[in-house]
Amino acid sequence: DTAVSQTPKYLVTQMGNDKSIKCEQNLGHDTMYWYKQDSKKFLKIMFSYNNKELIINETVPNRFSPKSPDKAHLNLHINSLELGDSAVYFCASSQGETGGAGGYTFGSGTRLTVV
């Protein structure tokens, strides 16, 4: 069973489109995150939710809007996509803020390519 699953795995879309990435975790964790990994592999946090409540919102364009319908799901909607949004987006979950001994569990990522 996949612990943190993201869909789709690949997403190719044109500039200006709106797209969503879905994430689900079956670990019973209470905190979920979105990270962006750029072409140089740098991982940067975008958002985190604890029990459906937004707790971290980094300096991210407001074209990005996360939504957490319940503590097992965290989706990312992106409006008016730009070339610079091309990256790999990772969903992660943890029990507690830093995950304690368990750390973060990451999904396999969604590679977004904006053309």
Binding site: V4, T31, Y33, K40, K41, F42, L43, K44, I45, S48, N50, I55, I56, F90, A92, E97, T98, G99, A101, G102, G103, Y104, T105, F106, G107, S108, G109
Partner: protein, 112 residues
């Protein structure tokens, strides 16, 4: 401003050798220091982690050395194997802010 600096950017080691990756941080509020391993096409996976109340933690071939006064910590991979070839990320976490800040990553290649 980079809060977590990782070096080297890339590393080539012969099979059986020791791989050493270093990390330095600035914020003394950090209280959790994990290392993550990432294979191509996969998400990062927790490898080993340490809290600042200990100076060393060992799990199998992987050891974290932690120097609180210098605000540095390192990952040592003993008897490096080709299967260890991956990208390694250090990270720093704070219970107050509830987020992990990652280093820039180190691409390790272990030659047979």
């Amino acid at each position: 401003q980079q809060q977590v600096k990782q070096s080297p950017q890339s590393l080539i080691v012969q099979k059986g050798g020791i791989s050493i990756i270093n990390c330095a941080y600035e914020n003394t509020a950090f209280d959790y220091f994990p290392w993550y391993q990432q294979f191509p096409g996969k998400g990062p996976a927790l490898l080993i982690a340490i809290r600042p109340d200990v100076s060393e933690k060992k799990e199998g071939r992987f050891t974290i050395s932690f120097n609180k006064s210098a605000k540095q910590f390192s990952l040592h991979i003993m008897d490096s194997q080709p299967g260890d070839s991956a990208t390694y990320f250090c990270a720093c976490g704070s219970s107050n802010t509830g987020k992990l800040i990652f280093g820039q990553g180190t691409t390790l290649q272990v030659k047979p």
